[in-house]
């Protein structure tokens, strides 16, 4: 059963003289437990597509339906709440709060959800151990390598128990060893816990791991291949 249905999704940027179609009438479906890479050259519309899918950027046209909820028909306040409970994000630049420890960065999202301290502590410890950072739990981001920071970001994305995780170029700032490590962790989470991952990437190593590859070009789907 599809957890995400995308219908006629379009994003047009109005420049001063020209109109740019960043995403051009895309129709797609994602199933529970998919490990999908959205690929394409720079400017193909990957990030815009992911932003609309994640409720961060509004479409000019079309629908994003997640578990029968049309996200873009929700009010701004309800959409923020919907993101909080249904979507996990992993960003290219990790985007951890530098003043918080790894534990606090992961706990933050559960605090926003109103979960108890006891539950937060238990889940944060389990998640950081799962991504191999059980011994770095109280380290601030500045004391962690890029790969470790991105693993904290994955733990943070998982902390809210989302329906799926969107990762925008998650390996772009990582060396090959850190990339391999991160991909192994995400693949393991996907296989063992049936967590749905959707990436945007240029990285061949990510594409190699992905079981479905959606290729965009000029905002349109060029191909949609399942291995």
């Amino acid at each position: 059963m599809s957890i995400i249905k995308i219908k006629n999704l379009t994003k047009i940027y109005d420049g001063s003289s020209i109109e740019v179609k960043a995403v051009d009438h895309i129709d797609l479906r994602f199933e529970k437990g998919e490990f999908t890479a959205v690929v394409g050259p720079s400017g193909s519309g990957k990030t815009t597509f992911l932003n609309m899918l994640g409720g961060l950027d509004s479409p000019t046209e079309g629908e994003v339906i997640i578990d029968d909820v049309d996200m873009w028909s929700l009010s701004s306040r309800k959409r923020i709440d919907f993101r909080l409970h249904n979507i996990g994000f992993v960003f290219q630049a990790y985007n951890l709060l530098p003043v918080l420890t790894a534990r606090e960065n992961v706990e933050l999202i559960m605090e926003l959800q109103g979960r108890s301290k006891k539950e937060r502590t238990k889940r944060t410890t389990a998640l950081l151990e799962e991504v191999g950072l059980g011994d770095r739990i109280d380290s601030r981001p500045s004391k962690l390598s890029g790969g470790e920071q991105q693993r904290v970001a994955v733990a943070r994305a998982l902390a809210s128990k989302p329906k799926f995780i969107l990762a925008d170029e998650p390996t772009a700032n990582l060396d090959s060893k850190a990339t391999e490590n991160l991909l192994d962790i995400m693949e393991q989470l996907n296989k063992e816990e049936n967590i749905t991952f959707i990436f945007s990437t240029h990285d061949a190593r990510v594409m190699k791991k992905a079981r479905r590859i959606v290729t965009l070009e000029d905002g349109k789907i060029l191909s949609d291949l399942t291995k």
């Binding site: 932003n51 994640g54 961060l56 950027d57 701004s76 306040r77 923020i80 709440d81 993101r83 909080l84 409970h85 994000f89 960003f91 630049a93 985007n95 709060l97 003043v99 933050l108 999202i109 926003l112 959800q113 943070r156 809210s160």
Partner: protein, 396 residues
């Protein structure tokens, strides 16, 4: 807030200095006004005065209260009363060998008067009606200068008696006082009650004015109510009615000082807005991330507001502490402004000022600092919320 320590410290120090100045200035002026009011009460008018209706407007010699001493005696029995003095008040001319001047003569029973006013403590020369010398007069130093008289000098007081006949008496200067109020020191003289009574032929036990000093400043209104019932048909006025300009001065100064502090905080408001705006713009990517993962706008706004209020309060608390410590120190150590003594004395103020710090001021200032913090957070928070998360995350 501490990511850019220097920037935060600058605004905290600015806030602390501004409030230290504001609080100390307020305590200084409160002290100055208090001393002025205290002087007016203790040297001139006391807390409460009783007159025959209309006497204060005309000061007619015939406007005496026939049973003044009996009323005064009754009031002396009130436990809340520290002193009661029955006085004779007559407008007259005083002349020395060189010149003359118009003055208000106050006829007093020295022992009773000492319990109401403090003129006896303000003597710079001579004594306050000691000994049995006939017709002594105690005058202010300003009048002494004007008449060119000294201790022992003879002066002639000319006045109208109760029968409207002009009469005169020779008096000898036995004391010279300095209340540090030039107008009072030049315009009022004191003689013995009996000497003035004899000269004016006012009946025994009568008086023009019953001056009452309450044991505490804050019970004056309660004492007035009791005096009202002890003096039916007479005009009973408190110092606030007798000297409305003092009451106005007191209220106006409170208002001016709050306006002064508001101006300081208003100036600081822009500094705080600037600091917070820079802090928000530096962290716009983090704020974008927080909004992306599901922090709603109210929480983002509160996050920025708490930080701004905390920044303001940190400076505010230091300002309140420093301002209070300095003000408290000068409550017991005089601020010497004697180089401007002439100007201060002319206006009736002491050139030596002791500050007075009121605790409600500190509470109000703290509340004002919090309000300033809240106001200062609005624009930076609005700026942060104006980005959508996708755009905020793209900013490098």
């Amino acid at each position: 807030m501490w990511r850019n320590k220097l920037r935060s410290l600058v605004i905290i120090i600015a806030m602390a200095l501004g409030l230290t100045t504001g609080i100390f200035s307020t305590a200084f002026y409160e002290g100055l006004i208090d001393q002025r009011i205290d002087k007016v009460i203790k040297s001139e008018i006391s807390h409460i005065q009783v007159h025959k209706p209309g006497f204060r407007n005309a000061t007619e010699i015939s406007g005496f209260i026939p049973n003044a001493e009996a009323i005064a005696e009754k009031i002396r029995t009130f436990p809340e009363v520290a002193g009661v003095s029955n006085r004779l008040i007559v407008n007259s001319m005083i002349a020395s060998a060189e010149t003359g001047a118009g003055v208000k003569i106050v006829g007093v029973d020295p022992a009773r008067e000492k319990k109401v006013t403090n003129i006896h403590t303000k003597l710079v020369e001579g004594t306050y009606f000691e000994g049995k010398r006939r017709n002594p007069v105690v005058i202010g130093h300003k009048l002494a200068e004007k008449l060119n008289v000294h201790l022992g000098s003879k002066v002639v007081i000319t006045l109208q008696d109760i029968n409207n006949d002009i009469t005169a008496g020779a008096f000898r200067v036995t004391g010279i006082f300095n209340t540090m109020s030039n107008a009072f020191d030049e315009g009022s003289i004191f003689v013995r009650f009996n000497d003035l009574q004899r000269l004016t032929m006012i009946p025994d036990k009568a008086g023009h004015e019953i001056a009452i000093l309450a044991s505490k400043n804050d019970i004056v209104n309660a004492v007035k109510l009791k005096v009202d019932s002890a003096a039916p048909g007479l005009e009973v006025l408190t110092w606030l009615d007798l000297s409305p300009e003092m009451s106005y001065l007191n209220e106006a100064m409170d208002l001016y000082m709050y306006i002064f502090i508001v101006i300081i905080l208003f100036a600081l408001l822009f500094g705080i807005i600037n600091t917070m705006l820079m802090a928000v713009l530096e962290r716009i990517k983090e704020i974008g991330m927080l909004m992306a993962i599901g922090m709603n706008k109210t929480r983002v706004f509160l996050l920025i507001m708490y930080e701004t209020v905390f920044l303001s309060l940190t400076g505010g608390v230091f300002g309140v502490i420093f301002g209070s410590l300095i003000s408290k120190y000068y409550e017991t150590h005089k601020i010497d402004l004697s180089i401007w003594a002439d100007g201060y004395l002319e206006l009736g103020y002491d050139p030596f000022v002791y500050t007075r710090l009121e605790w409600p001021l500190l509470v109000n200032v703290t509340i004002m600092v919090i309000i300033t913090g809240i106001l200062a957070s609005i624009y930076p928070a609005w700026k942060a919320l104006s980005y959508n998360p996708a755009n905020a995350l793209r900013i490098e």
